[in-house]
Symmetry: C2
DNA sequence: ACAAACATGTCAGCAAAATGACAGTCCAAC
DNA sequence: GTTGGACTGTCATTTTGCTGACATGTTTGT
């Protein structure tokens, strides 16, 4: 793929804001691009973690399995986000699974190339640190939710976040498409599929949302989805 | 305090392994030392986060409060650990509380000084990244515990970790002193005080542990405390 | 067009653990 | 010493939301 195209692809990762064009060029040269379709697995636990990934389009989920086959999703990532960062955080194998939720375009870069870049650019290092900090905060908030909130509160406040980050604002509310399956929401909120179904229908009964497999529509303001 | 003493104090933080003596000297010069006694608060949420702390001795807990006054402890830190790292992760206020659990000696350093050092030493940057990665993994494991394990499993596997990291190996098992209150354990494991009490007494009945306010003794091998 | 696989809707029953209440115990400070 | 406050021990009650079961509905691939 032409470097120029790659360069374009690497725009809109805030992490690279303020980097010199020369640096960006170097980044682009070291980046490979791939299309991944739904349900593809990008990495498994125990896989060597040599690569850092930039998500250009689509959605990826990072999740874990328990011994007895239960699933919990740690993060749902959208365009502009980075994953596989354990590579640059001194781990040589992954401990999560990264799976494509919506057909994705992923840029991949070897961790050594990225580390070389970091050494050359304190600016980049700074951005990486910020990004990691943000990740850390997100997961701490996740813990807080698990501990303080009830199952149904977790579901509604997940919907809030989901609509906020992935939805489009309309005249009379918000629209997100496509929507997730109830099981996917259950895994994200550490609840049972049936509970998700129930909460979703309750919200629909109250005329706060409308949903189907293809979309989620929020009628009115975000703060109706308060825990 | 003499730089020499400070220098000594800064040993045994793995983060500084492999740093040049010159660099260590610079570190020491920028570090201030403080003694904090039990129940002292080192920082509150919303406090400006300008400082990074190195825990030389004692124990610190990092915790959060919910609106309705519940508590959950995110981490229990012992000697050799770093906290307040949000300072170098691009956050300008804290979002947790750091409180002394056992009388502590804390080294404090201004975040800008530390960042200057990081720029000069890619080595240090690397160590910091590793440390953050380790922190991230710990908290992901915390999430996993919350989701997959039952209350009593969380308590036993907490005891496991506690004994492993803070205990002394004896001929016939392990000994940790002092011990925590049941409420503290409850906050660490997201359970109720009464449940902790029950599990503790069950383990004592099975003659696996012996405990009082002052100590926790594990009779025999660590793996008896498996979930 | 059809079947197989997957997703949703609903309900009854159950279990884990939180809550609340209170007595007993330890400890530290005066 | 005595007293107040914090910590521990125990129990009965209640709740949340998970489990399993099953019917219905929808999508996908051939």
């Amino acid at each position: 793929m032409a470097e120029k195209t790659k360069l374009w692809y690497l725009q809109n990762f805030n992490m690279f804001d303020g980097m010199s064009p020369k640096m960006m060029m170097e980044l682009a040269q070291n980046t490979s691009m791939q299309n991944n379709s739904k349900k593809e697995i990008i990495y498994f636990p125990e896989d060597a973690s040599n690569t850092i990934y930039f998500l250009k389009a689509g959605k990826i989920k990072i999740y874990r399995l328990s011994e007895d086959g239960k699933t919990t999703t740690l993060q749902l990532l959208g365009p502009g986000e980075i994953f596989g960062e354990s590579a640059i955080l001194g781990q040589d194998t992954h401990d999560n699974i990264a799976e494509v939720v919506e057909d994705a375009v992923v840029c991949a870069m070897d961790k050594r190339d990225f580390q070389d870049l970091m050494e050359k650019s304190p600016n980049l290092t700074m951005s990486v640190n910020k990004f990691i900090g943000w990740r850390l905060r997100k997961i701490q908030a996740h813990v807080e939710d698990l501990v303080f909130k009830s199952a149904s509160q977790r579901i509604t406040s997940f919907l809030h976040r989901y609509v906020e980050t992935f939805g489009k604002k309309m005249v009379d509310g918000w629209m997100v498409r496509p929507f997730l399956t109830h099981q996917e929401i259950a895994d994200l909120t550490a609840t049972a599929r049936q509970t998700v179904n129930q909460v979703l229908n309750e919200l629909a009964d109250k005329d706060i949302i409308k949903f189907s497999r293809r979309f989620l529509q929020l009628k009115g303001d975000l703060d109706q989805l308060e825990s």
